[in-house]
Subunit: 492 residues, 2 copies
């Protein structure tokens, strides 16, 4: 029997502001859409946290045996412009290769994005569609919304008519706003003045002459409004209604609100059953911002190349750190907090390693199924990873008792214990055991030990041994160098 | 001054079957398009060799200071069908999530493809566009070819009229064929009977009801013909004319021939200045084929999980092996050949390592600029990597002479020597030095050395030292185990 039939999840639904039983639209299947990155700059650590939260959810749903189709888009439609000073004539005469090509920018940051998520051990989504790859689908949605009378065309652009929509539906249902609030908060593209009402949003924008990315449409050569791509891609791959839509808290309004309005207008159904929003990551208690220097790039954690950090950290330690907070809580990132997480991580990995060497006893002195269920209960409660980690540390206590022969487990129970421990640590939390691969560190320690032995030999005037150690190390590519401050070594 | 102003390349152009001076259309810029993978199965080793050949060319052009825009597409439009037995009604009632979604297949193999190329240290191209992301562009080209009277619509499909085109142009200009040959060789989609002539090829195909991937068009809900995507994407990102078009030899006809016909019909210019084709990779003297078991996947080289191999090999050794053949030669892959390449690779890396420790002398006993130019000459001669490698081994001889003080170089010449050596080994050939990272191996050797010392101590009944070695190793995670056949160790 699939695990999902035994383990019942509750999720916090932003649409109802309450925890609800998670019941997918099609039994055994889950459709999940998460707003992906805009690939015109480096992915920032806050994004990584958001994607990590949904990676945890993706992993847990798969662990429970659901067939999950996880769609995370790439926003590659950018509004780069050719240098306007040069004038249109000059531009059109320029060789294609000399022009700025937005897709080169897109490629650079997409490659970077994938590298970062790979380092943090996020699984690739099932489908990773691009906005520019779905222009036809977006145009079709605009046509349909125009047909329904909920959008209007003006000067080659098409706008969604929020007031008209709000007559029958509630624009603000997700964010708890009303139209009056919306008036003051609508995210604008340009050309605001041609809109009927300030809160209307663009479905299609006519391109200015200097706009590089543009496609033909019934209204103009132009480009789709930003909110539209997610409606087009989620519907195409998950259907008009699907189970989970995720994203950062900052996308709730207006982006997700507009998605609901677009989909309801077009398909006349509420598109998403459960809206999930991840919370912010702050740095040293303050908002991250490039301008203030209170800022860190994900890969700088691994390289240590940021003055904020005391030292480099393995990506999996940063992953563990982020999972120590619930996805709906604000998380404060700092070097001290990472160091704390590192200690916990190594304690956990040490237990995982020791667990493999434990032998079964004739009876069980604790109830593994109770402990096992406590792990599931944590994740079933809105994917509460910090509670799960606390339960795993309960497990670490058991491991230590088993090692010290203060506890025992029957063969059957021991198998359950090992399987559960490994499943939650590696499959669900997605941690990677870097301790066993850390041989460069071990090599260093063994060489240091040999340097000590050599120092002893030299103190005893045992030059034969001292030279032998130096020469044998040199033969395997480890060079000792005697200096004023003692002996150092380098590895070729 | 940019290097490309000094170093003049000759390339073998498949269009003229001769070596020609390489003169880009826009000085200092190179536009290069290479046909990428079809992501409906694992990339095979022959594909990797082809992409590696163009990676070498990309790297060399960049090394010379060209601004290269390298476009390599992803063929993600596939003709998967829903299970026809179930009937149309059943299918339309099925939930979206339960249906086969081609884009899930695409994602799986795209991720695999990127992983493979990354392992073999291929640089990502500048732009990696997808066929499904350029349907509008493809439809526009079809409209234009219809306008020119060189295609016809029938039953919702559009075909290119090869005979009509051949009245004024030469269909077969690249492959050296004539229409009579073509009649017997045209690659067919389905619905052959509706074509006016068998050698006509599809520009747009009407989708059958069971076809999953489909887009609206002026002719039908359908999908573009396979040859069209490369014309659309190369033109969009490189212009109507560009410098280099590459691909495997097997794509010359009909794929590249059709690209020429499409582009000439649409834009009335020959699209590509230099056509470059990579040759085949065979395995143990025979064609690779899954059916015969004479087959190896790229990542199996690294894992060693293939009976064809004597052992696992680092990916960079396989890269070095493939670069030992010229891209236009057939290459026979075998475990023995890889072992041979491995020896050469380590000899080269050893020289690279030693070179760093060489000191300058008061005079130069050989002419580094002559040697340096011989490296450039090799690459300038149609990117002849095996000749380059031979020149680098000449360099290895010099390194050894320098090490043995049988030769010397002035500071300036030594700097040129080091810079050239490193540039060709790492930047141009794209090799990776795995020797210095091989610490697990070094750790093993150092531990073996300690085991020897411990054995000596035990032979001398120096139990204190013997125990100290064991305990100190245990403290850093290296366990010694004394058995009948001596002492072994394990690393935690």
């Amino acid at each position: 029997m699939e695990l999902y039939k035994q383990q019942k999840i509750k999720v916090y639904n932003s649409l109802t502001n309450s925890k609800e039983d998670f019941i997918p639209l099609n039994e055994g299947y889950v459709g999940m859409y998460v707003c992906g990155p805009t690939v015109y700059s480096n992915v920032h650590l806050g994004n990584v946290r958001t994607f990590l939260s949904f990676d945890l959810i993706f992993r847990y749903l798969k662990h429970l045996g659901y067939k999950v189709r996880y769609v995370r888009n790439i926003t590659d439609a950018g509004h780069l412009e050719n240098d306007a000073d040069e004038g249109e004539d000059r531009i059109s005469k320029k060789a294609r290769l000399e022009e700025l090509e937005p897709m080169e920018v897109v490629q650079q940051y997409t490659v970077d994005f994938h590298k970062v998520l790979d380092e943090f051990n996020l699984l690739p989504p099932s489908i990773e569609p691009t906005a520019t790859g779905h222009i036809i689908e977006q145009i079709n949605i605009i046509k349909e919304i125009l047909n329904k009378g909920l959008a209007y065309e003006i000067n080659g652009s098409v706008y969604f008519d929020v007031l008209k929509y709000n007559e029958k539906e509630h624009y603000g249902i997700l964010s708890g706003r009303n139209i009056e609030d919306a008036i003051h908060n609508t995210r604008e593209l340009d050309g605001q003045s041609e809109k009927r009402n300030p809160q209307d949003f663009a479905l299609w924008k006519k391109a200015q002459p200097e706009h590089i990315m543009r496609w033909p449409s019934p209204w103009s050569d132009g480009f789709p409004g930003w909110h539209l791509e997610c409606t087009a891609m989620s519907t195409k791959y998950l259907g008009e209604q699907f189970d989970i839509h995720g994203g950062g808290m900052d996308l709730k309004f207006p982006h997700h609100e507009c998605e609901i309005a677009q989909a309801k207008s077009c398909y006349e159904v509420s598109p998403v059953k459960y809206w999930l929003h991840g919370n912010m990551l702050i740095l040293n208690g303050r908002k991250m911002a490039k301008s203030t220097g209170n800022y860190i790039l994900p890969l700088e954690i691994i390289s240590g190349n940021n003055t904020i950090l005391s030292k480099p950290f393995p990506a999996t330690v940063a992953r563990f750190f982020m999972l120590q907070a619930h996805y709906r809580s604000v998380l404060d990132f700092s070097s001290d907090a990472l160091e704390g997480a590192e200690k916990g991580y190594y304690r956990l990995m040490s237990a995982v390693g020791s667990l493999q060497n434990i032998n079964a006893g004739s009876q069980s002195s604790f109830d593994v199924t109770v402990w096992r269920q406590s792990c599931y209960d944590a994740m079933n409660d809105d994917f509460n990873s910090p509670v799960l980690i606390a339960q795993l540390f309960e497990g670490v206590k058991y491991v230590n008792q088993l090692l010290e022969n203060k506890a025992s487990l029957t063969e059957e129970d021991l198998a359950i214990f090992k399987e559960t421990f490994n499943a939650f640590v590696f499959d669900v939390l997605g941690l990677v055991d870097v301790t066993s691969k850390d041989n460069s560190d071990k090599l260093g320690k063994v060489v240091e030990m040999l340097i000590d032995m050599r120092n002893e030999a030299r103190a005893n005037k045992n030059w034969a041994l001292s030279d032998k150690i130096r020469d044998k190390l040199a033969a395997v590519g480890v060079q000792l160098k005697d200096g004023k401050e003692g002996t150092t070594f380098s590895v070729n």
